[in-house]
Amino acid sequence: MSGRDYLGEFEHMVVLALLRLEDRAYGVPVRQEIEFRTKREISIGAVYATLDRLETKGYVKSHRGEPTRERGGRSKRFFRVTAKGVAAVNRTHRALQSMTEGLDLIRSYS
């Protein structure tokens, strides 16, 4: 891995959701946040597959919470974005901004 990687589309959404949720970020709110903002149904499997990939890259870190009754005695897994993850989001944003600079997307291509 070069350490200069850009985030994929869904990775980008997941990291942004984690940043929005701050210390409340576990599977359920992350899935709901993306679903609410993108208006498309997201599976929890897709969220965890992406979170695991991001954790392997060092962009997020996770820790276990306490088991709760509403989850059938199962614990939550909380995630937070690392400094490396924030750098990756910024890098991706800058690349996208650079690519869209000067393009009048709505008027020219709609």
Binding site: G45, R71, R74
Partner: protein
């Protein structure tokens, strides 16, 4: 918003399906999340709506977990599948030999012709299904943590080969023996059933250990 929702039991088959494909270390968080949202949705919109949502999530989640299970260890999974394929090729003739050995030993052809016909057709096919279950179990034992992905890949590979064989037979104008097709399907499903048996037993053992 959801913290005070009571626990509502989701469809047990859907829970089992997610468990089959979820790695042990991730199972707790994925299932916990699904159950939490299911309980919330059941209390807000009713059990029927929640059940539909849960099944949709299960189908999508299982597809994702199967894909990531393969991409996480593609070479070792493929190696297990190839060995399983060779093993099945090696043992697939055993039921036929065993059935005919019994039929000849007890001269069934001479005394019970209908029984002979049944055992020589359906009996052998059932023997192959049992062999496929055992083959699926063996593959699943070797593919620890990826039992379902490995057995599904093996089943798919056999299906593709059978499809190619059918096309070749059609091209050459040879007879197809279509009555064997349902039994072929049964063999492929039996391989996956073998994987599910091993995975379920491993899950039960893990639950016992963590519960102890």
């Amino acid at each position: 918003m959801m913290s005070q929702t009571d626990f509502v039991q989701p469809p047990s088959i859907a829970v089992w399906l997610v468990n089959l494909f979820t790695p042990a270390e991730k199972g707790e968080s994925i299932l916990g999340d699904l159950i939490e949202e299911y309980s919330h949705l059941a209390s807000k919109s009713g059990v029927a709506v929640a059940r539909r949502w849960y099944w949709r999530q299960t189908a999508k989640t299982v597809a994702h977990l199967a894909a990531t299970g393969l991409s996480a260890a593609p070479w070792s999974t493929t190696a297990v599948v190839v060995v399983g394929f060779l093993l099945l090729r090696f043992v697939s003739g055993l039921p036929e030999r065993a059935v005919f050995a019994v039929l000849e030993r007890y001269r069934v052809f001479d005394y019970h012709f209908h029984t002979y016909v049944f055992l020589a057709t359906v009996g052998i096919a059932i023997g192959r299904v049992i062999t496929s279950i055992l083959g699926g179990c063996t593959v699943a034992l070797a593919a620890k943590g990826r039992e379902m992905v490995a057995t599904m890949m093996l089943s798919l590979a056999l299906g593709v080969l059978a499809g190619v064989a059918i096309l070749v037979l059609l091209a050459w104008g040879r007879p197809l023996f279509l009555w064997t097709l349902p039994w072929q399907f049964a063999d492929w499903i039996a391989i996956v059933v073998g994987g599910a048996i091993v995975r379920t037993r491993r899950l039960a053992a893990t639950t016992r250990l963590t519960g102890a």
